[in-house]
């Protein structure tokens, strides 16, 4: 029973690592250059600090997700893994939320502030950003379910095997 639980947790962590890694890579390599009225408009992730924060946060969470499954099963580190899980989940949702806010302005514009939508000019960049956001939110959902699973494991005294 404990082995199954631990295997499930490891599979979930690997999937979350895959999701956040995909989000990082897709956002970092999204790049489109267009000519608008004789000016070259180049859209990259460095356009907005929110996207930069998104790339950095997802990279950190991917590195964390890569290292955690290698901790041996009965180590004392699993207690701090639970706390770190919560911190990194918070980081993930905050970066997703910030990038989503800026991407929404880019897609729909903001008439009252005089900000025009730029997705009409750089549709490929917009699609890449959307894909990265979706991957990041999938990673967040997996991390959240890992946290709830940990609490459920602690509550049920029959499931032993550390906080895995």
């Amino acid at each position: 029973m404990a082995k199954t639980k631990r295997a499930t947790t490891l599979v979930l962590r690997f999937m979350a690592f895959g999701a956040t890694l995909a989000a990082t890579i897709v956002m970092a390599t999204s790049h489109q250059t267009v000519d608008v009225f004789a000016t070259i408009f180049s859209a990259k992730y460095t356009v907005s600090p929110a996207f930069k924060y998104f790339v950095i946060a997802n990279a950190i969470v991917s590195a964390y997700g890569l290292l955690v499954p290698f901790i041996p099963a009965e180590s004392k580190l699993w207690r701090s893994v639970f706390a770190l899980d919560m911190v990194f989940t918070m980081l993930l949702i905050s970066s997703f939320s910030a990038a989503l806010a800026i991407a929404y302005v880019g897609k729909k514009g903001n008439a009252q502030a005089g900000w025009f939508a730029i997705c009409g000019q750089v549709p490929v960049f917009c699609d890449h950003v959307t894909g990265a956001l979706i991957a990041s939110v999938i990673g967040f959902i997996i991390y959240m379910s890992l946290l709830l699973h940990t609490i459920h494991t602690v509550l049920n005294p029959l499931l032993v095997g550390g906080l895995g």
Partner: protein, 240 residues
């Protein structure tokens, strides 16, 4: 250091306390020894009665005061962030063009509803302050209620969800505010804070309050989870 032991008839005991030797007659030792014994037996009887009484409800001790204080301050932080951002509005009349000698004026209003990030910010902070209020009420009034031992778990899970909610809302509003303050020259978006500085200041204040609330709620969530992982001894009732 003293060694109380029934030694014999008329013996004198040597007690070593704090570097000095004291000689005590044995009668006094016997008196002290028996009085300690009877007190200990009384205490044992009291604890035995407590364990075997049929009291199935685990009575949790009242929470530490520090958690209550943290929740109170977090409630004030999130509530003030909600209220300040919800009342954030500024109207300004700007001169757009000058035709001849008359000036063409345009009245612009900056409201929080214009930006979906700020709308989400107000809603999320409102929900978080309601959550904090509910937790304070449970803290003060609900010390004796427990449903199959799930109270701590529900509190911990709700705390975690609200931390995620507030962190998302605060960060989205922070980056939107940064966009309004600095603009974005790549996308040709002008900054608006130079025209609507009161709006920006109030929004900044609400953001700071929300981030302080976020830090406090993170600490509260960590404490709740620690309380969940280390069950109190009163929770485990030994059935005879």
């Amino acid at each position: 250091m003293c060694h109380s032991e029934l030694i014999g008839q008329q013996m004198v005991l040597a007690i070593y306390i704090n570097g000095h030797f004291y000689l005590v007659p044995s009668k006094i030792i016997l008196f002290v020894f028996f009085s300690f014994n009877t007190m200990a037996q009384e205490n044992e009887e009291k604890t035995v009665v407590g364990l075997s009484s049929s009291d199935p409800m685990p009575i949790n001790k009242p929470d530490h005061g520090i958690l209550l204080v943290l929740r109170l301050v977090a409630f004030f932080a999130t509530a003030s962030a909600t209220i300040v951002m919800a009342l954030n509005k500024e109207t300004k009349t700007l001169v757009v063009a000058t035709i001849g000698s008359t000036q063409v004026k345009v009245t612009l209003t900056a409201k929080f509803q214009h930006t979906p990030a700020f709308v989400f910010f107000v809603i999320a902070n409102g929900m978080a302050s309601l959550h904090n209020l509910l937790m304070i009420a449970i803290n003060i009034f609900g010390s004796k209620t427990d449903y199959k031992g799930l109270k701590l778990a529900v509190v911990a899970i709700l705390d975690m969800l609200n931390v995620a909610l507030i962190s998302g809302a605060a960060n989205a509003a922070a980056f939107m505010a940064e966009l309004g303050k600095n603009g974005n020259k790549h996308a040709r978006w002008d900054k608006i804070c130079d025209k609507f500085d009161t709006f920006c200041n109030h929004g900044g204040g609400a953001l700071i309050a929300s981030f302080m609330g976020l830090g406090l709620m993170l600490a509260i969530s960590v404490i709740s989870i620690i309380k969940l992982l280390k069950p109190k001894p009163t929770n485990h009732i030994l059935f005879p």
